[in-house]
């Protein structure tokens, strides 16, 4: 009896020891490690749901959405402990999504965060979403989410300038990149409590609504842009078919308000569709050439010799510096030797004695070649600089042609074209031709962008003010408040003599009297240009403004390998017709 009770006491002590061991371990877990386990419990039950902020829209001046958002549907699946239930759900989902069940299992397995639904498929079309909703009662744990997706409703319209967003929704180039900080909204989030099956329990614990991005309002007139693009496209097609200019696939047009620098149309051909930017298929008929199938904006990132459109600059420089008077005539004989260089008229035509106005009208190479010889290279450079055509600013040479034109609304991204022609030219001292100034004067050797040429002709139209070209007029928040408003910016003001300018303008007006511009209700000013590229068809140019008396639009057109400057006039006419409503 005594011995038994002694042994019972041993067992009592053993029981106390058991409790002691348990208490010790509980102390370890609950008191010492407690906070860590509490954190894990929180990650168990809280789920952060990100609400993607819709990106700001890009809207044309006439109210057309050029970039917007549509809801994109995705489907996720919460973890299910019961394997049979899971299998039913997965097989149903696989059937509806037309996927291999194994692929769904793989996604579930590969999903590291066990307490969040695993993303199964995204970018679903609406029909599929309806189908899923319809059968959702058969698939517990199914989570259909909506995120905004960037779209470009006008497809190829203004595609080069707009740029695109990458897979993460960040601007990759163009306006999308340059204005990223404004376009991008602030993502919201909500913290919800879920149960073990991943289903939501109760109201959100924390809710921070998404703040949509700001909208960009462009100076671009979508109607004009459209008309210009179509015209350019058709004219290029006609050049290939009717004039057998096989390489005439590419071209660019800028239409600008000469009194403000607003860009009204900015067309680069061929265009593409940013909706499919990462897998865009160029039309098959396009040549395989990388300079044709390019995402680079030809208005700002592409330079071509400008031909006779340069002659206004030579003329104005000569008048301003007294190298010639408006009335002085120079004899055009079909071909002439100037400073040892043989200068031919177009088609060796002899125009007889021509003054400035007549020389511009007939585009006399001999007249302007003679002026070039009188002016010399340096003087011509001065005027190139005055029109913002060089990369030279404050004595430095800029490394980007885009900046030369003063236009910086667009991030070029991969488009950056750093060919700095003038840097090379100025360094080419050892290869000096005495005839250099002569050739430059009538438009050879000089390469500019279409944007630069639009600046140049705007300055001729407005009396010498170099406005900064701009495409973004205003930024508004989602609820319509103006965040930023952009006013015209004067980059430089040249004090050209109004009389001299008038002579040049009259010459341009005379040059724009061709059959294409007949029956316009107002006079216009214009000048064609044809420049040579060795072994290729000529490049066609046209610059001008309208109306002649009170300029509202300035136009610069370039048809690469378009043969003859004259061919641009059809595009110019279409632009003027559309802008002034002359077609109806």
């Amino acid at each position: 009896m005594k011995q038994m009770n002694f042994r019972i006491t041993i067992l009592r002590i053993a029981a106390a020891f058991v409790v002691l061991v348990l208490v010790y371990n509980l102390f370890q877990i609950q008191v010492i490690e407690g906070q860590e386990w509490a954190d894990i419990a929180d990650t168990n039950r809280f789920r952060h749901l990100v609400q993607t902020a819709p990106r700001g829209k890009i809207i044309s001046a006439d109210g057309v959405d050029l970039a917007g958002n549509i809801p994109s549907y995705s489907v996720a699946l919460a973890y299910e402990q019961d394997e049979q239930k899971l299998e039913k759900t997965v097989s149903k989902l696989a059937e509806l999504l037309d996927l291999d069940p194994e692929a769904i299992y793989a996604k579930l397995q590969g999903h590291r965060r066990r307490f969040e639904p695993a993303l199964i498929a995204s970018d679903l079309d609406f029909e599929t979403v309806l189908l899923l909703e319809e059968h959702s009662h058969l698939m517990p744990g199914l989570d259909i989410g909506i995120t905004p997706k960037r779209i470009y409703p006008q497809q190829t319209l203004l595609a080069h300038s707009l740029g695109r967003v990458n897979y993460d929704g960040f601007g990759d180039d163009g306006l999308e990149k340059k204005w990223e900080d404004y376009l991008r909204g602030k993502n919201g989030f909500s913290v919800i409590q879920v149960n073990a099956a991943g289903r939501r329990v109760g109201a959100p614990v924390n809710n921070q609504p998404a703040i949509p991005g700001n909208d960009l309002h462009l100076t671009i007139d979508a109607g004009l842009q459209q008309a210009t693009q179509e015209s350019l496209h058709q004219v290029l097609a006609k050049l290939r078919e009717k004039y057998k200019l096989e390489d005439a696939w590419t071209g660019a047009v800028v239409v600008m308000d000469p009194n403000t620098g607003k860009i009204l149309a900015n067309v680069s051909e061929p265009s593409f569709d940013n909706n499919y930017r990462y897998n865009f298929k160029w039309p098959e008929e396009l040549p395989q050439s990388s300079t044709v199938r390019t995402y680079r904006d030809r208005t700002i990132a592409w330079r071509r010799p400008v031909g006779s459109t340069f002659k206004m600059l030579t003329g104005l420089a000569a008048l301003e510096s007294g190298a010639v008077t408006a009335k002085e005539t120079i004899r055009s004989t079909g071909v002439a030797r100037i400073a040892g260089f043989s200068v031919p008229e177009y088609g060796y035509a002899a125009y007889g004695n021509v003054d400035m106005r007549r020389a511009l009208e007939v585009s006399s190479n001999i007249y302007f070649g003679t002026l070039g010889n009188r002016l010399g290279r340096e003087k011509i450079y001065d005027y190139i600089a005055k029109f913002g055509l060089t990369g030279v600013a404050n004595g430095e040479i800029n490394d980007s042609v885009v900046k030369n034109a003063g236009f910086d609304d667009i991030s070029l991204g991969e488009q950056i074209h750093s060919l700095d022609y003038y840097k090379e030219l100025l360094n080419r001292g050892e290869v000096f031709y005495s005839s250099y100034a002569v050739q430059m004067a009538y438009g050879q050797l000089n390469e500019f962008t279409v944007m630069q040429m639009a600046n140049y002709v705007s300055m001729l139209a407005n009396g010498g003010t170099h406005y900064k070209p701009y495409m973004v007029e205003k930024i508004t928040s989602a609820n319509g408040e103006v965040v930023e408003l952009f006013e015209p910016t004067v980059l430089a003001r040249q004090d050209f003599s109004p009389e001299n300018l008038q002579v040049i303008r009259e010459g341009m007006q005379a040059a724009a009297k061709g059959s294409r511009f007949r029956n316009l209700p107002f006079k216009i000013a214009g000048k064609t240009g044809t420049s040579q590229e060795r072994g290729k068809d000529n490049h066609a140019w046209w610059v001008g403004y309208a109306p002649y008396d009170n300029p509202e639009i300035a136009i610069a057109i370039n048809l690469e390998y378009g043969g003859l400057g004259l061919r641009c006039e059809e595009v110019a006419r279409d632009i003027i017709d559309h802008y002034f409503g002359l077609k109806e």
């Binding site: 029981a15 409790v19 509980l26 008191v31 407690g34 509490a38």
Partner: protein, 372 residues
């Protein structure tokens, strides 16, 4: 009825039992109801209601049982033993399978009886009867053969269900009862060494790989956090996140949001740990220890060895199940599916515990009554 029965009645023990069972009822309620807990939602929950019936019915039954002199059962040792053995065999043929084990027999479609639970109390009574016979000696190895055979047969049947956990409970009951009944220290030492060696051998040669995995996963549940380790991790998260003061009754997120599996049965202690914290868990453990001590005390004061050994069997069963069950929830013990007596939801376990405690109360109440 003898007047001494009421005079000697251990009301402290009775109160402790009812208090712990009622506490368990509240915890079952917490695991059964998600969202707002009111009397209405509690009573609307089938789990809670059934457990309530068990607690009330079990308490009444236990009390009635305690009024009967436990020595009466001595006469029924053989029927009890073979009836319980028959049920164990029956479960193999007629029982239904849950989680890969055949443990339950359906009775009237309402109650799933788990014969292995009842067998525990049957073995306590019969082993106590066997070892408390006047002529019984435990001096030689030969003397141990009968008790071992007595326990070994039902235990083997249970082991084959397979129900490793309950088999272990049998071993512990047997060893504790033998120990108090006078097992020699030498025999105890030899048996302990043999037990360790046997366990190791059994682990490598008898157990199926899945059983092995289940046994060792508790050391590193993150090896398989989605399946085997899931329960352990969630239980540990629940208990740990209770911290010192607990999340509050009915406020445990692991419990209420269903992260905790089997929370009303095997993992009921995790609910205690999460919602009542270290303070609540320790108070609960101390109450439980008090219960165990009280049972041992009843054993010490018993009028005969039969009563003494019954108490030892019951107390050691409760101690071992407490260790293994609570140890499992904090991953210092493997997951063996052993419920926490008085707390875990489940009729068989509760019934068994109440019968066992009814016997203990009877031992206390009848300590002075004459044997004749």
């Amino acid at each position: 009825m003898d007047k001494k029965v009421l005079k000697n009645y251990d009301f402290v023990l009775l109160f402790t039992i009812v208090a712990i069972a009622s506490f368990g009822l509240v915890m079952v309620g917490s695991s059964a109801v998600s969202g707002e807990v009111t009397l209405a939602t509690l009573l609307g929950s089938g789990l809670f209601l059934r457990q309530l019936l068990w607690v009330v019915g079990g308490t009444v039954g236990m009390f009635l049982l305690s009024l009967i002199d436990y020595t009466e059962w001595r006469r029924f040792t053989i029927p009890i033993y073979f009836f319980s053995l028959a049920l164990l065999v029956l479960v193999i043929f007629k029982g239904h399978e849950v989680w890969g084990s055949q443990r339950w027999i359906s009775i009237g479609g309402f109650f799933n009886l788990q014969p292995s639970e009842l067998a525990k109390v049957a073995i306590i009574i019969t082993l106590a009867a066997l070892l408390s016979k006047e002529e019984r000696q435990l001096d030689t190895w030969w003397d141990l053969i009968l008790p071992f055979a007595h326990v070994g047969v039902p235990m083997l049947v249970i082991f084959m269900q397979p129900d490793l956990g309950t088999s272990l409970v049998f071993i512990v009951i047997t060893m504790a009862v033998l120990f108090v009944a006078g097992l020699r220290w030498l025999h105890l030492a030899v048996l302990s060494v043999a037990g360790v060696i046997g366990s190791v051998l059994a682990f490598f040669y008898v157990l199926e790989p899945y059983q092995k995995n289940r046994l060792i996963i508790f050391r590193d549940p993150w090896q398989d956090p989605q399946k085997l380790g899931w329960q352990i991790i969630q239980s540990k998260v629940a208990i740990g996140s209770g911290q010192f003061r607990g999340r509050g009754l009915f406020q445990g997120t692991q419990t209420q949001l269903n992260f905790l599996p089997a929370k009303h049965t095997d993992f009921i202690f995790s609910v205690v740990g999460e919602e009542l914290g270290f303070v609540g868990a320790v108070l609960f453990l101390l109450a439980y220890l008090f219960l165990i001590w009280q049972i041992f005390k009843v054993g010490s004061d018993a009028k005969d060895n039969f009563g003494r050994l019954i108490c030892v069997g019951v107390a050691s069963m409760l101690t071992f199940q407490l260790l293994v069950n609570v140890g499992m929830t904090i991953s210092i013990m493997p997951v063996t599916g052993i419920p926490l007596p008085l707390l875990s939801y489940g009729g068989s376990s509760f019934l068994t515990t109440m019968i066992a405690l009814g016997l203990v109360l009877s031992v206390a109440a009848h300590k002075d009554t004459s044997m004749f």
